[in-house]
């Protein structure tokens, strides 16, 4: 008799067989570790200027292993701190928007009728608001903070997910197993959580894998406009931005943050692909019929 595994258990087994996803996950884990603990091993801090080493090339001798920027600040420490912000924005904002979006979309799609119409018109209204205007409005009301970036990005991103999820839900709702669950006396909330949402996973996971990089880029765009993180705090987006300006004279300023950003984006895509395959029971090997 085969052991009855839970969905997540099975998914984990399948994921660990996927080499690309496994390597990506390991790389991500290493990067997270580096970003959290890297600065401890550096003699410099994020806002300290080394007056003798302005725009210095990377060197192992003086401890500026990534070099310094045009203000003489250590680039290694800045890249690590920037990574904290970028990854946090990417993960937290995405997670929040996925949770809101999936629940909202699934409920709207499943309920249908007037409730659906009302809920989706509300989404349309939010869609109609220009993103920048929305961010500026938040800044004016609440003042600048990193927290607001989460709110702003999350508030906009869940709209997309809600729409996608609603469309998928309409499709799944028509399936006979949902009718069968209704006759089986299963409550509406349980039908949404057990029958609708698990079958949405494939779409959502792919969307998340695409959203995390997108969110990181949006944050860098906001930073560029002066609406994101403020100096001396920084993010990968902001660093890449500064580096691009100094590309010819000091290419390391672009290179190091860009490598970290690009690696992250790659890893998320592979992990996303792997997760989608792992969560789809149809992709697993068939038992003996």
């Amino acid at each position: 008799m085969r052991k009855t595994n839970s969905l997540l258990n099975d998914a984990w087994v399948a994921l660990s067989k996927n080499k690309a996803a496994l390597i990506s996950a390991t790389t991500m884990a290493a990067m997270v570790f580096m970003v959290l603990f890297g600065p401890i091993f550096s003699p410099y801090t994020i806002d300290e200027t080394d007056w003798y080493k302005i725009s210095a090339a990377p060197s192992l001798l003086d401890g500026h292993i990534f070099g310094t920027d045009d203000l003489g600040r250590d680039l290694f420490v800045r890249t690590m701190f920037g990574g904290r912000i970028s990854l946090m924005v990417g993960l937290v904002a995405t997670l929040v928007s996925v949770m809101i979006g999936v629940t909202y979309g699934a409920v709207a799609g499943f309920m249908g009728g007037r409730i659906d119409a009302l809920m989706m018109r509300f989404v349309d209204v939010l869609y109609a608001m220009p993103f920048l205007f929305f961010v500026i409005l938040l800044m004016v009301f609440f003042g600048r903070s990193i927290f607001l970036i989460f709110v702003a990005i999350g508030a906009v991103n869940w709209l997309d997910i809600a729409r996608i999820v609603r469309g998928q839900t309409l499709n799944i709702k028509g399936k006979e197993y949902v009718d069968a669950a209704k006759t089986g006396g299963v409550s509406t909330i349980k039908i949404i959580m057990k029958h609708i949402v698990p079958n949405l996973l494939g779409v959502v996971v792919v969307y998340v894998a695409l959203t995390v990089p997108q969110v990181i880029l949006v944050e860098s765009f906001l930073s560029f406009l002066g609406l994101g993180v403020q100096e001396p705090m920084t993010s990968w987006g902001a660093l890449v931005n500064q580096g691009a300006r100094q590309m010819e004279s000091s290419p390391w300023m672009l290179l190091f943050p860009a490598i970290f950003l690009a690696t992250t984006l790659f890893c998320f895509n592979f992990i996303g692909d792997g997760l989608r395959d792992a969560l789809d029971p149809k992709d697993r090997t068939r038992g003996n019929d």
Partner: protein
């Protein structure tokens, strides 16, 4: 007569995950001019692969060896460029599902013209004339308008006519029909089969008819090949096969299909004591309307009445059949009884409670006594739940206080009851075959120990032999558990076999109802009689008489 098509030692093999599957084994047959050849067998018998290999349409992992001469030209191994000159031009094909064989984004005219543009040098105007002429000849009204219309504007039967029309465009010598009427209603099937025979006469071609239905063979074919697991079991002319079959497999197939169609058949269920008239479901003037999308903002509401003033009763312990063509409202009626569809007017009483007047909690109590098995075994099981989770769900919701051990025991017992072993508990639906999935669905329906089981086309999507098994299973369970059953089907043969009483529906209304024997042998309404005579019977002589009668009636 010369041979139009002759195959010798045709073999089809597929490579899949390192295994080699031998789909067709050493098949040799001949087809003469102006002849209809039937290829019969269950799914997996290699009948479709045979013709696909002739057409050069095998999947990329398949390969065909042997010889296949078509008008003295070897088709096997012909490069696809030359093959394209043959298929579509000299050999045309129509498929099972008319819904998916026409592209909904392109007009019918455009799709038909493509064939002529490839194979002839006709000008645009000529092509249009030819297409319209063909549409007209397959009995499509207003062919000019249809030429510029889209396929979704047509019904399934009309689409199949369009497919036939486009197959005829180039005056092919051979028409291959792969289960052309399996997806259609019986009355439509009758018309399409008649049409195929008529165009065969008119355009002087040969036809290969692939089907699993012996009745269709008896109605249309001159020669028959019987196949099983890729091997030829028997071949010969239709009368010989039907009246003096030699192979055991043929005898078995004939016996199975005749069993369902015989007049003096044995009833599985004992006859009901007429004094018991405890009705479980009773509907009075039940009506369900669907509001269709408006054509314009201020146009009047478009209302479709799917169930129109239906009054019926289901008595305790009986098997009630509901038959009708697609769109007759039989499934909507079932959903209404299950409380999945709201009534527009009228009343439905289930177990003495009026569905429109009860709250959620009471509805749940009723559903405990009333369960359903749906048509498509794959879509009625959640692909992300294991068999164990699927069976546990109704227990969780109806008996929340049940202990883990007794639930486990109930689930295992339930699975055994439908003929599966507990080792299936950890499997996902896609790891099961269609028949096994349907068994799981039946087990799920039986978990809350219902009194009433509604089967909505529960066996329609299954193969003939598996269909028999599932029907036997349902009947056994019915007898053991003293269930009442509502059995919805478009397959009249199945209904005749198992139902005590029958309701015939047409466009939302009841046409006729009464005891099965009476409805089937002394139908009062013309509609019922037509429906019954449209069912093909596996008896070539009888079918020929019926065909002659229909032709004369025209």
């Amino acid at each position: 007569m010369t041979d139009l098509l002759a195959t010798k030692k045709l073999n089809v093999k597929f490579r899949s995950r390192g295994e080699i599957i031998h789909a067709v084994k050493d098949l040799s047959f001949k087809l003469s001019d102006d002849e209809v050849l039937g290829i019969v067998g269950e799914s997996g018998s290699g009948k479709s692969q045979t013709v696909l290999s002739i057409m050069g349409l095998l999947e990329t992992n398949g390969s065909a060896t042997g010889s296949c001469l078509f008008a003295d030209k070897e088709l096997i191994g012909l490069p696809s460029g030359e093959l394209n000159n043959v298929r579509g031009n000299e050999i045309a094909m129509i498929f099972q599902d008319p819904m998916s064989s026409l592209n909904p984004y392109i007009t019918i005219g455009k799709q038909m013209s493509g064939v002529l543009k490839r194979h002839t040098r006709m000008g645009n105007k000529e092509i249009k004339e030819r297409c319209i002429e063909m549409l007209d000849s397959v009995g499509i009204g207003k062919p000019q308008e249809r030429f510029d219309g889209y396929s979704f504007e047509l019904s399934g039967g009309m689409r199949q006519r369009v497919m036939i029309a486009s197959a005829l465009l180039t005056n092919p010598k051979l028409l291959i029909a792969d289960e052309p009427t399996t997806a259609l209603d019986v009355t439509v099937q009758e018309k399409i089969l008649d049409l195929i025979l008529a165009v065969k006469e008119r355009f002087k071609m040969s036809v290969i008819m692939i089907t699993h239905d012996l009745g269709v063979v008896a109605r249309t074919c001159d020669q028959v090949l019987v196949m099983k697991n890729g091997e030829l079991q028997e071949s010969g002319n239709t009368e010989a096969i039907f009246y003096s079959p030699k192979a055991d497999y043929t005898k078995e197939l004939l016996k199975k299909s005749k069993e369902i169609n015989l007049k003096e058949q044995q009833k599985y269920t004992e006859t009901q004591d007429p004094s018991i008239k405890n009705s479980l479901v009773k509907s009075t003037n039940a009506k369900v309307n669907f509001v269709l999308p408006k054509k314009a903002l201020f146009s009047a509401e478009n209302i479709l009445t799917a169930v129109n003033e239906i009054s019926m009763e289901t008595h305790e312990g009986e098997v009630l059949g509901i038959v009708g063509e697609s769109g007759s409202g039989k499934s909507t009626l079932a959903k209404t009884i299950l409380g999945l569809q709201k009534l527009s007017s009228g009343q439905v009483e289930v177990f003495g409670e009026r569905l429109s007047e009860i709250n959620k909690k009471e509805l749940k109590e009723i559903r405990k006594k009333m369960q359903v098995v749906f048509q498509d075994p794959f879509s009625s099981l959640n692909p992300r739940m294991t068999v164990f989770e699927i069976l546990k769900e109704p227990l969780d919701s109806f008996f929340p206080s049940m202990t883990k051990e007794s639930a486990q025991k109930d689930i295992e017992d339930g699975l055994m009851e439908v003929g599966l072993t507990p080792e299936y508990l950890g499997r996902y639906p896609h790891e099961l075959s269609g028949g096994q999935c349907q068994r799981v669905a039946i087990a799920r329906a039986l978990m809350p120990k219902p009194q009433l089981l509604i089967c909505d086309e529960a066996v329609s999507a299954l193969d003939a032999s598996i269909r028999g098994e599932i029907i036997d299973l349902l009947l056994r369970i019915k007898a053991e558990k003293k269930l009442t059953m509502i059995f919805i089907a478009h397959d009249l043969a199945v209904v005749r076999k198992i139902c005590d009483r029958v309701i015939v529906m047409q466009s939302g209304k009841i046409v006729e109802q009464g005891p099965t024997e009476k409805v089937f042998f002394e139908p009062e309404k013309e509609y019922t009689a037509n429906l019954l005579s449209a069912v093909p019977v596996p008896d070539p002589k009888m079918e020929r008489e019926k065909y002659i009668k229909r032709v004369q009636a025209k």
